[in-house]
Assembly symmetry: D2
Homo-oligomer: 378 residues x 4
């Protein structure tokens, strides 16, 4: 999406708001009116006329038009039209109401209805990496930056295997406070050095608003991790930058919530969002997460944003990664982000799900054939 | 697996037990001893010596050998060796015990440890259909047999598209008692006629023990549906036949439970089991079920049985089916089972997830290329 | 629900159909017309008039009335009125359709709209046990019948603790084919002897249609296990008896599917259904299943059937059972079904989740106070 | 837990580190060594001696002691002793390894092993509110502060009903960027005024590190919402304050992850953590979230921290709230946090799950009786 389209869609937020990044207090008056809040109210069997009229009245208070449809057994009321960001779910507690069904999801800028053609989002680096075009992007690298030699070696190895972007964490969100938390700025410097050396775009995670200036100095793509998918202050803050954002899906986020998180970023004027599916939490035990690849064609149907797949987090086990890479490309994914480590036995983080650059290279032969089969390149 | 291997593995059940099919009372004395019930017992911090010795004693009562390992903060006890089908999880209630961790899953005949080479299971028909070899099998057809012309037309269309087996339900498990329940024997006869006409193998669902004789008369493959994956009397009964069984995974069954359901069938002497993943139930709403393709490489790692994918049930929406077919082949699936209907708008069941034979045919061009890329054929 | 109401609701199935129990082939012509299949069709943005008219035409083909509502951004079509059991979800594949939302669930006899007053379902025995009235029923006993002395001792102990019904499995559905499968008829005889001795109603699981005559000879309540909740032939067969049925919820069944399973039983003329929540499968690991107690007030809101809670299966760990019993009563449950065993360390099945009769007795003091607090008795 | 205990447990972080709140870069050298990282490595059947010795070597590299146990079919290796925060899961990729099972969870300060007696955490205000003692705390109020009269009225009404703390959001995390985001500081001032008026402790959500100083000025308890349960910078920052923290469980967080989030806060020297269960995300549709009350006795078993229940978020529907309040008290919860609103039909947020103060007051009669039954007060 061009900046001018962003401007048109979100006229209240056209200027990158550098100051708001430090002020987590939103200004409620600035929220643009939301549209498409149509809903269907199903009345209980035997709801009285007075109850039906009361609901119709409440719908009109919301700025919507009510359409009362009386069936043989019960009445449904369709509420159609613009609204003014009021809260319709409240209707559920009104006497005589059985349930309220929203007609449509409330995201807009991330939706395909607003922008029909697919977005091609640049990743940076000097190798022309981007997501959303004919070429599938390959982002690979270690879970964490552990040392300069480890990272530079790995960067060269993944480039040789065919990657155009390098992943690597300098700030690591860890479930335990006692686990390795990343090298911080020192790690960022090593990542930037690797880019200079190889031309790979640098993708690295950002965990807090106050890390943004620092990370923007070194990285090409800001990764928002699954745990932060609904950290709204962080979303707004990366929306205030013009860096590409790789937004990972929360492990129990619905697709609607996922696109609304993208909407948080885009509503600040940053159109460069890449969605990333990294597996959801289910009852399954043979894998750390369940990788739902059907999200790829569904995102392509309802949104113009590119979607890349993380089969490393998405399965949690190195032996499942290559086949899931193949499946992701076949399903139409716009890219892969893969954990690769020269010595998984001694990795400081996520060794269990890292493949070696050698495996990556071997796998690429097959990935290229599959990409060709589905009319893509890699 | 050959019959002789089945015999060797399960010496107590070598003869097809026609009579047991009608007698749902299992004979508890006939259950073979189960092995590999090793476990690790983790004691509470501060568990007393008497408590530790009591657990060790209980382990020995189970016919296992106890290994007591004292750490700096707590004691763990490994219980190793054969057992005699006693119930070890009981140890959890013993004073001083923190938790009990089983070392390994209790299936055996379905496991790769018992049979290293992959099983190739024949489907029937005259087109050489099988699952588990180099050739990926394509099973397609309507959800339900609705009429003779509908089925015969559809059979010819899916054969023309490249299918080697025909699916179609004569007995339909329906969530509502008021929904169309299938044509019964009349539907089976039409299926058999379609096989005679086309050479396609006939795959159809069996819902009850007393349908077995009837269905065996007409069908090549007995499908056990997801809702019946733990209907143990039905599993035993199809295990008593020598027909190939297509066993669908329950929508919240673990992989271990899935393989144990296969073990029920195989323990009766029928080695011809094809596993079928048809999606699991999660919180997701854009799809009716979540299709976890990582199960394909995992099944190939731990079992010798073939696994086919059902992207129709696995997503619930026709527009997601083609890409999930491609992904399944890329992930290494041994086959696809797809709902195809000439006129989905008027299908009596599952129209929302049926693709047309025309879509199937178009998709096959891509599927063939992907199969080649992963060193398979279709 | 009285038999006469059952007759009125289901005029086609008024006679207990002894023969159908052996014939698993449903007669499709006998399915009564289903009502309340209203739905809302949401059209895509930009759907053409021709597409809208085509959908309206399809709705009329289904015997429903179409109401077209044009909004500022898109059109929704409400389809209201009786239908003739045709399959409306098919509309989803029609060009121009965004999604189809059903207005209401298709169960009827289990619904509160059909019967406002709560059903009181008798359990049997000589102690006046029933579920759904002011008195909360307590069903307790071992997971499996293991021997005559074990069961008779346990029966006397749970009666002394306050139980009015005895649970105990003679046929055991086991995940592994190698596990103890139950004592069969010998176990049933011991259960009947326990009833003669104590007056407790006997609740026992039925796994297959061909066990019905046998189990009916000895038991008061037929338990349909979670794995069989959608074994429709079994549901129809217990619906043909007039025994009370304790129907357990499948571990990933929705509430709608649960009530439709009850509807299968009731549609055959057996109104004596008790629902049983036994926990659902989630990602949680500290418990074997997650016990969702909010289902109690929800069932009371939408159905007239009683609901009992199984905190043993519902948690999987004995140490969680007493507090969940208390919570269940406080939430308004109509009964509890609890696994109790004199010697959990040596139980043949489910020792980890069995409490001792001593714990049961101690807990009853508190349960009585909570029952009084919520205006019930136990 | 007393401050001196906190000091003893965490000698590296005894001083409130005001400056670190602004510096999101953790100092990796300061992480204290983690203990209890024992694990069991299960080798593949047929693993070679060299593979077994290689694993033993890697275990010794981690600073653990290896215990090799050879069974009839396979070898397991127990790794026992202190470790140095290295990453053992890596062993999973080592040749010959089947799987790695951690023996124990890595939290410590939140664990009952470290502190046997239950913690009583003060809430503030002048009514003596606290969580974890005999008295169950009742926190009630609107989802959002909407206006001065609304909040002051509501505060007085919930106090009259029996509450000792007031909830109300000034910063609201909203799924949609277009929804009402809260009144900010103006809302905080109204909350403080309500405390002055009523003596109720003020509980309010904090969404970002840079809101801490502001919120600490007005509020008594800092609420960390479910979406931020793994926002580690925020956890560290509230750990640097000495305010009581109400930590909500993420909607797909495991119990171990939940306690590790508490550990993040406690490891900074703030022992005043109250856990809050607010429902998990499952496949269920009749409720917005599934409320798993068995977590109450489990938390009491493994941790000394108090746990309160949020039945409003935990169900999402006002009609389910009262019965879940009763169940929570019966299960042993240390408190309730409830959304209450005078006019749910017109609430700006969460009207569907808010009860009225009148309902709250009526319910309290029953809650008091249940509390007495389980030897608590409210």
């Amino acid at each position: 999406m061009s900046l001018s389209l962003a401007k048109e869609l979100n006229p209240l937020n056209t200027e990158p708001q550098a100051e708001s990044r430090r002020l987590s207090t939103p200004n409620p008056k600035k929220n643009p009116p939301s549209k498409e809040h149509e809903m269907i109210v199903v009345m209980e069997q035997g709801a009285s006329d007075a109850q039906i009229q009361h609901v119709a009245q409440l719908i009109r208070e919301l700025g919507l038009t009510d359409h009362i449809i009386k069936g043989t057994e019960r009445t449904v009321i369709a509420a159609i039209g613009d609204d003014r960001a009021k809260n319709k779910e409240n209707l559920e507690t009104v006497p005589g109401v059985e349930k309220v069904m929203p007609v449509l999801a409330p995201y807009k800028m991330a939706s395909r209805e607003v922008k029909k053609e697919r977005s091609v989002v640049p990743l940076g680096g000097t190798l022309g990496a981007s997501a959303g075009g004919k070429k599938v992007c390959l982002i690979a690298g270690p879970c964490s930056v552990e040392s300069r030699p480890q990272l530079l070696n790995c960067a060269q190895a993944v480039k040789a295997a065919g990657a155009t972007a390098l992943r690597g964490g300098a700030f690591k969100p860890r479930t335990s406070p006692y686990a390795f938390q990343g090298m911080g700025e020192e790690g960022l410097k090593i990542l930037a050095e690797a880019r200079d050396l190889t031309g790979l775009a640098v993708v690295t995670e950002i965990m807090a608003v106050d890390q943004i200036d620092l990370v923007c100095k070194y990285a090409d793509v800001l990764q928002v991790g699954a745990r932060n998918m609904q950290n709204y202050n962080l979303l707004w803050a990366v929306g205030d930058t013009r860096k590409t954002v790789l937004l990972k899906r929360g492990l129990s986020a619905t697709l609607e919530e996922f696109l609304l998180a993208a909407e948080y970023i885009m509503s600040k004027g940053n159109p460069n969002v890449i969605l990333c599916e990294r597996g959801i939490r289910t009852f399954e035990t043979y894998c750390r997460n369940t990788l739902p690849l059907a999200i790829v064609p569904e995102v392509h149907r309802i949104s113009h944003l590119p979607i890349v797949i993380d089969p490393s987090q998405g399965t949690g086990h190195a032996h499942l990664v290559p086949d899931m890479c193949k499946a992701a490309i076949a399903a139409g994914a716009d890219g892969l982000i893969i954990e690769a480590h020269d010595d998984p036995e001694h990795a400081l983080t996520d060794g269990a799900q890292s493949i070696t650059p050698k495996t990556l290279k071997e796998m690429m032969v097959t990935l290229r054939k599959i990409a060709t089969a589905v009319d893509r390149e890699i």
